[in-house]
Symmetry: D2
Subunit: 322 residues, 4 copies
Amino acid sequence: MDKVRIGIVGTGYIGNVHGRIYARDERAEVAALFDIIPERMAETAKHIGGRICASREELLDNCDAVLVCAPNKTHPEIAAAAVAAGKHVFCEKPFAIGIDEAASLLAVANSSDKVFQVGHSRRFAPLYVKLKELLANDAPHSAHIKMNRGELLQPPWTGDTNVTGGFLYETTIHFLDQLRFQFGEVEELIAYGSRHEYPEIDEFSVIFRFRNGFHCTFASSADAGWMFPFERIEVFCHHRTIVAEEMLKLFDGRGTNADYATHSFHMLDDDTRKGFVAEDAAFISSILDGTPTAVSADDGYKAVELVEAVYGSIRTGERVRF
Amino acid sequence: MDKVRIGIVGTGYIGNVHGRIYARDERAEVAALFDIIPERMAETAKHIGGRICASREELLDNCDAVLVCAPNKTHPEIAAAAVAAGKHVFCEKPFAIGIDEAASLLAVANSSDKVFQVGHSRRFAPLYVKLKELLANDAPHSAHIKMNRGELLQPPWTGDTNVTGGFLYETTIHFLDQLRFQFGEVEELIAYGSRHEYPEIDEFSVIFRFRNGFHCTFASSADAGWMFPFERIEVFCHHRTIVAEEMLKLFDGRGTNADYATHSFHMLDDDTRKGFVAEDAAFISSILDGTPTAVSADDGYKAVELVEAVYGSIRTGERVRF
Amino acid sequence: MDKVRIGIVGTGYIGNVHGRIYARDERAEVAALFDIIPERMAETAKHIGGRICASREELLDNCDAVLVCAPNKTHPEIAAAAVAAGKHVFCEKPFAIGIDEAASLLAVANSSDKVFQVGHSRRFAPLYVKLKELLANDAPHSAHIKMNRGELLQPPWTGDTNVTGGFLYETTIHFLDQLRFQFGEVEELIAYGSRHEYPEIDEFSVIFRFRNGFHCTFASSADAGWMFPFERIEVFCHHRTIVAEEMLKLFDGRGTNADYATHSFHMLDDDTRKGFVAEDAAFISSILDGTPTAVSADDGYKAVELVEAVYGSIRTGERVRF
Amino acid sequence: MDKVRIGIVGTGYIGNVHGRIYARDERAEVAALFDIIPERMAETAKHIGGRICASREELLDNCDAVLVCAPNKTHPEIAAAAVAAGKHVFCEKPFAIGIDEAASLLAVANSSDKVFQVGHSRRFAPLYVKLKELLANDAPHSAHIKMNRGELLQPPWTGDTNVTGGFLYETTIHFLDQLRFQFGEVEELIAYGSRHEYPEIDEFSVIFRFRNGFHCTFASSADAGWMFPFERIEVFCHHRTIVAEEMLKLFDGRGTNADYATHSFHMLDDDTRKGFVAEDAAFISSILDGTPTAVSADDGYKAVELVEAVYGSIRTGERVRF
């Protein structure tokens, strides 16, 4: 294969992000688009190219790799069809809604000999890569983490659980995946939640404990406003505090004075800073060079498992152990 | 009574803070000092005045009100003796170490017809007063709170549980009292802890749920370094985030854009900004004018109860309900 | 005219910025491209469309409006040719290099009955629009302004005065235009400069006095590194300080305490936040609706005049009066 | 001499600052106080000790070293009398008001064989000491400096030129001294000023050029409000920006990315952070150990010279060369 022919199912916001990156990637070619809203597909084609397909079948016939960028609830069915057609698959997060769907898709993905990558893009954000590097050279004790998305209704469908599967399946699931990326496997969690402005739980207080003994608090609010930063990870090590704010600034304070170093990511363009560029490059490298999948179906499954465990703990009032 | 004659037991850091404030207060007079380290007492007298007493009895004979500023473990015995002598009592935090001692002192305090105030000074910090005012006019949903003290061994005795009663009895107890001050009575908590650098638990992850349904995460680390801010309260309301940092800055972001107002407390002198000036004035007003005690023995007891509940939850692995 | 047919001369960074904005604008159509580097033009066409022209004449034959996005030194000649061909012209900053070229182009532009807009995009940045609104309702006394670009050699041609016309013609000229936009006409300036790392003056200290009596300091450094913010305007009014940082944050502190409001522009996408979207919309509105030109040839000329006056003052050691 | 017997003339704010530091200094003794307001002197004596003197003569008879802490205009006469009495002298800034008074006092000080130190305390602030250390190991190109004091009338006498000698003689003179401390001798300056809210010039824009070729902008506003930071020094070196804010934070950004280190001074107590503790220790060391005077009468004179040169340049419209 010379260039990977990319087919994009779903040409909304995130489909366009990946599309414009691949349109500039010499190892890829935007080959095919499919969307149930034809106007949106046509508009996308103007900017990134690609054959406008009348059906998913037509798309599958015209690409080597499928990007699943349709609404959350449709991911498993589309991804499974792509696997069945022998395609490499990039499945946007969330991997699936609910543990049953996730388990089914995991089985399908594991049966494939093609690449299957899940869209937890924050793993590729330069700030989080740097954070992992700092933590790998220290022994973190505990952490204090938050993700307040702002407002569920922007855009409006983000407040519709029939589309999203629930608030945690939106941006927060990125952070649940980050927990595993940065700190290892979760052993146990307990969660409290409440409902205020939306017809679903919109405020979360959670504690996670990991197999290595590490533990952290985790807060997520659907209704907090948009004051920066809305994502922060604050890690406590031996005489050291490391704080990550918004993929923009990473503060590293060591020792027993108040000095600290700042790693700053302001100067990167948005797609690079948020990890999309490196994420998309990794997918192509796995296809062309056989590098291991950066975010596997198993990672996707486990993020869903964490979402469901948080909801379950709130429902039952019990801890969830893994 | 014209001026309240103040007697200070314990002339270390905090005894000197109150002493220098009362030395400038027209309604008070620093009348007597007692400390088991005579040199420290003599040095203090040079700066704030006051009779150097050879015994606690001599001090009690020469004052109307006693400030209990000796090490944590000695608070109940000294405070009880002062009550028994018919004195007004200002008892530094913590009110007591352990629930039994706290219950005994509560009974003693309740039996007194004099003023009994507990030293939870952050209630008087202008920033926290302002925060309470903002929250009183809104309906907070949840919060994300941390207090990393830096290092247990500065000064060295702060790492000695025989002196402190445990890390949470040091600065963190101020924050546990703040929870009640800002959000009401706690109904339930669950805590995780771990031990890393000191011979006691030094990392804490806690969730509190309140009677009014409000819930929050709470992290405290004994070993985090001294990077600012080491205290932060982040409250999520309806399309609003309010963030308090370090008694210095209070950010208030409302609505669905990213704008916010900043209330800044940099310009206040340290004693005012940290609440000591207002705290000491409140004590005198209760004595001279009969204003209600600002921080009661019951408040002191409940802060101890929260500390012990956190330790208890870590020990048993169970929630604690109140 | 239904849609304005846009022709872009120069398909480097800034040509692509305008191109991708017009590619999404219903009132415009990217109709023609011309660049002396064919590969760059072909790559651009893939993303924003437009006829690939073999000559400037071909471009002029296929558009209603010309965007002059080629290197600085070529602006006057290209813009004059477009005017001569009866086209509307959007001329990127700088308007020209040197006062003679600027005067010639001004005469040409004034002779045209078509729209002629100069690319001082910061006038359209929402932060600077807001700043102007705040200042319009107050009476500014003085200001303290800086623009440190970072490093001349990124990209390398920015350090070549044969391309740029001099460091001040690069980003700093935006700020010289801002001075007029925010504070009115300059009456007098005096400048000091020095040369350190590059074969041209790379450090500038300037004072401007305006006709209305307002005065300000102004520093610009070519070699300062990239620490944020690299642009800041700090205005002093009656018991009020207003600080603009980096088109991201606008702080407004009033009265005799230390409180302030923050207007935050983080959430806008880059093209909107930097003013390009509003700038390009204004150009189309002037063409289709006859709204006055937002940044006139006269504005472009005066920015060049300020650049040359700063260089002149450094050379002669004298003030320059206007 | 065992302990230096300190006499303090003027027991207002700054007299009390030095007094409370010396009251804790084992090498010094607060021996005598004199003030024309007896109540203030008595109140001060309560806190820091010292004989309450009925006349300056009585004070001179009872001390080895005199601290001149009375209002600005009285400094030369009091300092000269202390020199005449053979005392070591610590003269608060400003050294004098006007160049004639400054020259007279310089002659007097130079005729003394005792220590004569001027109160430019910011030279001792740990942040500015650190800044000097960083700059000593680099080659600064230019700088951008501001000092907006907030409001002239807080306290009210700061707006009375009969007391202060003019706004620049208040806090701004500290910064003029800093220029010499950090960057060497000034060769030339030019200043613009305007008058808005007070019966004296209250807004200043200045450029300084130094003998070593370094140049900087300098803004000072009397009427800006109290938004932090009100003092900032921003130095541009080779691919490096160093920013000092408010004696609290020192940012050091190097190289061609946006990372930087932060030296933080929050944790120091006020008297240490502002340099008073080290300043007072230096005075005693010069007396007891013969260490060179840290801030000489010549330094005091030159700061006055810079103040007068700024006023002179505004008056005449001409540069001032030294």
